[in-house]
């Protein structure tokens, strides 16, 4: 049908440009009560008492909830109370919840709740958290219930430690003729999706729990409410309509739990909880921070022999997904390079910061900032071209990853090809610096990326196809439409496979965990891969059923039949055929006899042959395939003012077969934009009491129109053999190398090592100051 690669318009396009696309908070709330969260003004403090009497007097208040009676929560370690209990561990932590008839009443009552605190010393960074005399964020760490393969260290602030021990470091350092070591640091920041999180919960008299939530993981919400609160899993129904941006931040289950306990407190009545922006940034989980040390050793000709990496992730107050984020960083700790001898400790460390959710790239833009900046430092020390060093070491089929997975022509993309492509795109031969006169220079910075997706080893995705009487198909998948356009791509895969008109594919956008087959979570660039495979399976199922009915009518073996172009026909005599519409609901003979019935196709795909990692060495296969790429930015730097603008940004990525050209470019460019904003501007600013000083979009500033560079995206195509039409994940990769490329460009431009984010001019100025900068030098 030629639909593969075609920029098919989004299936939900008209809904989204007319304001009729509904997000969670757009559903009428006339039958709901409204909840408001009371949050902690301290980063670390003992709760001495909570006075609710004044709040209770507010007209319309139906319940006030404090943290006493609820189970601890958390995906790997149950360390997090739904509402703070005994003490608060981060600024903005939920302490109490008010339920009232209107949002105004709830807010007014929340403001009247008096909480008495006794401040405790604050743990400000993962590095500080590991000091021997550091206060403990969790004194009871050893007593928490936890999953088997997470390794907290009770008595310390270590929530998880993942070790990579590959090859022999002794041999590696012996072979290394040149070594470099760099340290990096950045604070937590935020996803800042335009839609703030929203959840409603209702508990019906028969115990059925009904939740609507802006989430990437409604099926996980269902699972965790069952696990945490003991509600029968079959009695929990979670619905997710359109989601207004997520980027990983809506993969954590947090607001749903608050909405659920709010409903419990009012006898099961429906309660809506819509985050205000400030609480969306502070109370709901954020983007992880990192302190890192990277040491690389190479031969003089640039072959890296040893890599020693220490990642101290700032998981914040609770380990939730932070434990997993730190593990994923270990899996790909070296960046996309074939290195024989690797030592890495990747820690999720408790601090008194807001806790971490996944963030687009799942700890990869973070670790790659450290590794790729160090690669530039190494190239400079070797006196070698920066892309040449990367090319020499680029991971290739036959190499092994840090967890000792042997790569082949399918499970890794073509990094050397991406580097070559990038060189052309950025005219690398002209050199990295162009003097523009006027005190300004144009400077290029580069980076390479890779990522595998370390989701649950048995994660799966299901698809149901139902026919309509006109032969059109309803495509029902558990993938959430968070903006990635995945459901349009699934429609393309279906239409291509059934050789049908894409307009005859109707996509159900909303997900309902009771009527939609499960898609594990809409995360990790796994939507197209897993659900795509499920679509293929469902299409096969449909074809089989169509052929079965048609074979009776046409009096032919099913094997002799073909399906396509709206027909079921004899392969060698296409004129002998039935229209699909005459079979899709069962075939009716002229005398009234009927056979068959509505055709319902089903398909699913589960990840296969993934393994857990060894506790001591990290060996194992935690992800199915590695997407790779090479990226660059070109900046214009003002040498006097130390300001810059990003002129152009480049990505040469191998995402396998490109299924929808414009949609794929959009994913890559959007991710690049987010990466540049993360690298160039976004961070939580903490004061000495651990309070976040900028929890608004006025002071926490995503990129705006006009600040954006020109984007150049090019695809290198190495099909992934086991993926639908060979497509690899594409949702995250554009982001991953941007902070590093920006850091590399600026470090070169300013002549100082810039190893902290965000890369604001003041940071450059500070480094210049440190290096004894004076006006005379200019």
């Amino acid at each position: 049908m030629g639909l593969i690669g075609k920029s098919v318009l989004r299936k939900e396009a008209w809904e989204k440009v007319t304001g009729t696309a509904r997000y969670t908070a757009d559903y009428p709330a006339t039958d709901s009560l409204h909840a408001k969260i009371v949050v902690s003004p301290y980063a670390h403090a003992v709760i001495k008492g909570i006075q609710t009497s004044k709040a209770k007097e507010v007209f319309g208040v139906r319940a006030i909830i404090t943290g006493e009676q609820f189970p601890l929560t958390g995906e790997e370690i149950r360390d997090r109370p739904v509402l703070a209990k005994d003490k608060v561990r981060h600024y903005g932590e939920a302490v109490a919840l008010v339920v009232a008839d209107t949002p105004q009443q709830a807010k007014r009552a929340a403001e009247l709740i008096e909480v008495e605190y006794e401040p405790l010393p604050v743990v400000h960074s993962p590095t500080a958290a590991l000091m021997p005399n550091s206060p403990l964020v969790h004194e009871q760490l050893g007593r928490y219930k936890r999953e088997e393969r997470v390794y907290p260290e009770p008595g310390t602030n270590v929530a998880n430690r993942t070790k990579i021990r590959k090859g022999s470091m002794e041999r590696g350092w012996n072979l290394a003729e040149v070594t470099v070591e760099e340290r990096f640091s950045f604070s937590p920041s935020d996803h800042a999706a335009m839609e703030t999180r929203c959840s409603t919960a209702e508990i019906l008299p028969d115990g059925k729990v009904y939740i609507m939530t802006s989430s990437q993981a409604p099926f996980m919400a269902k699972r965790l409410i069952n696990e945490y609160f003991g509600v029968d899993i079959g009695k929990i129904v979670v619905e997710t309509p359109f989601v207004g941006g997520a980027y990983g931040g809506k993969a954590s289950i947090q607001l749903e739990l608050l909405a659920f306990i709010a409903s419990m407190a009012v006898g099961g009545r429906k309660v809506r909880l819509l985050n205000i922006r400030e609480q969306d940034m502070l109370t709901s989980p954020c983007h992880i921070g990192l302190d890192a040390t990277v040491k690389l050793g190479s031969t003089r000709d640039g072959k890296i022999q040893a890599a020693e990496l220490l990642f101290l992730f700032d998981g914040g107050a609770y380990s939730d997904k932070g434990a997993d984020l730190s593990r994923a960083a270990a899996v790909d700790c070296t960046g996309p390079y074939g290195i024989e001898n690797v030592w890495c400790d990747s820690l999720c460390v408790y601090t008194n910061h807001p806790y971490a959710a996944p963030f687009r790239g799942f700890s990869h833009s973070e670790l790659l900032f450290a590794v790729e900046r160090t690669m530039d430092v190494l190239a400079d020390k070797l006196g070698m071209d920066r892309l040449q060093l990367r090319y020499i070491n680029a991971i290739r089929p036959g190499d092994t990853t840090p967890t000792q997975v042997k790569l082949n022509n399918s499970n890794v993309g073509n990094l050397p090809g991406c580097i070559d492509r990038l060189k052309q795109m950025i005219n690398w031969e002209e050199g990295m610096i162009q003097d523009l006169g006027n005190g300004k220079i144009r400077v290029k910075g580069v980076s390479c990326i890779w990522k595998t997706s370390t989701i649950e080893s048995d994660a799966g995705s299901g698809v149901i196809l139902t026919f309509n009487r006109d032969g059109s198909i309803n495509l029902i998948s558990g993938v959430i439409e968070i903006g990635t356009g995945t459901k349009t791509v699934l429609a393309q895969i279906l239409a291509e496979t059934l050789k049908m008109d894409i307009r005859m594919v109707h996509v159900q956008m909303k997900v309902n965990t009771q009527s939609t087959p499960e898609h594990w979570k809409t995360v990790a660039s796994r939507g197209t891969f897993m659900a795509g495979r499920a679509v293929l399976a469902a299409a096969e199922d449909v074809i089989k059923q169509l052929k079965s009915t048609a074979s009776c009518v046409l009096r032919a073996q099913p094997d002799d039949l073909e399906v396509g172009y709206g027909k079921i026909f004899l392969r060698d005599e296409p004129d002998i055929h039935l229209d699909i519409k005459d079979v899709a609901y069962g075939y009716v003979y002229s005398n009234g006899n009927a056979i068959g019935g509505q055709i319902i196709g089903r398909g699913h795909y589960n990840l296969r042959r993934l393994t857990y990692m060894d506790k001591e060495t990290g060996a194992g296969k935690p992800g199915p395939e590695w997407s790779v790429g090479a990226q660059a930015v070109e900046i214009e730097f003002d040498k006097k003012h130390l300001t810059y603008r990003i002129v152009r940004a480049f990505s040469a990525v191998d995402i396998g077969t490109v299924l929808n050209e414009k949609a794929a470019r959009g994913q890559v460019m959007g991710a690049m934009s987010m990466g540049l904003a993360f690298g160039g501007r976004e961070t939580f600013v903490f004061d000495k009491w651990g309070r976040v000083l900028n929890p608004q979009l006025r002071t926490y500033r995503p990129l705006r129109y006009g600040e954006h560079p020109e984007y150049h995206v090019s695809f290198v195509v190495t099909p992934q053999l086991d993926a639908a039409y060979g497509a690899r994940g594409a949702g995250e990769h554009g982001l991953m190398g941007m902070p590093a490329a920006l850091g590399n460009a600026l470090s070169l431009a300013a002549g100082v090592k810039l190893n902290e984010l965000p890369l604001i001019p003041e940071q450059i100025w500070k480094m210049k100051q440190k290096e004894g900068y004076s006006h005379a030098d200019l």
């Binding site: 989004r10 939900e12 709330a29 800042a192 990635t484 959009g666 460019m669 959007g670 995503p702 984007y711």
Partner: protein
């Protein structure tokens, strides 16, 4: 509470609201017009942008009572307009949450400056945040609508 008539999308709507209620709140919670989105309630993100007498306004920065005797156009009142078509064709949205605000802002931009230059486009469009796209698609969509680039010279959606 006051009860008053607001002119929204060409219709007179009678509605009761508190004088302290923002236009965004009244549009969404009283009139069921949820196309204008809450993103910050602080005038920062632009997701709630509507047109008031043809001018882009952040409906979270405006009291509903200020909208009396004004002509209010929300995304729901924009039908089959060139901006909407351009957004679809250029993939100028992903999650779609900021889209109504962007479209309403662009609608007022193009009416005021059908031949807007880059500076003016930036002036207007930097009022809204899109977190999904890299803005390049939005830029292309807008520029495709500038007078010189428009084959179809039909006027943009007028206030109704």
């Amino acid at each position: 509470m006051i009860t008053a008539r607001l002119t929204v999308n060409g219709e007179q709507r009678e509605v009761a609201f508190r004088p302290s209620a923002t236009l965004l709140f009244v549009l969404r919670e009283k009139l069921g017009l949820t196309g204008a989105k809450p993103g910050c309630l602080n005038g920062d993100c632009g997701a709630c942008t509507v047109n008031v007498n043809g001018t882009a306004m952040k409906s979270c920065l405006m009291l509903a009572v200020e909208g009396l005797n004004q002509t209010i156009l929300t995304i729901e009142g924009l039908k089959d307009s060139p901006v909407q078509h351009a957004f679809i064709e250029h993939f100028a949205f992903q999650c779609g949450y900021c889209t109504p605000g962007f479209i309403m802002n662009i609608n007022s931009l193009l009416k005021k400056y059908p031949e807007a230059d880059d500076y003016t486009i930036k002036e207007f469009l930097s009022s809204n945040i899109c977190r999904c796209t890299g803005y390049q698609e939005i830029e292309k969509a807008v520029k495709s609508l500038l007078k010189m680039n428009r084959e179809d010279r039909a006027g943009l959606q007028q206030d109704v």
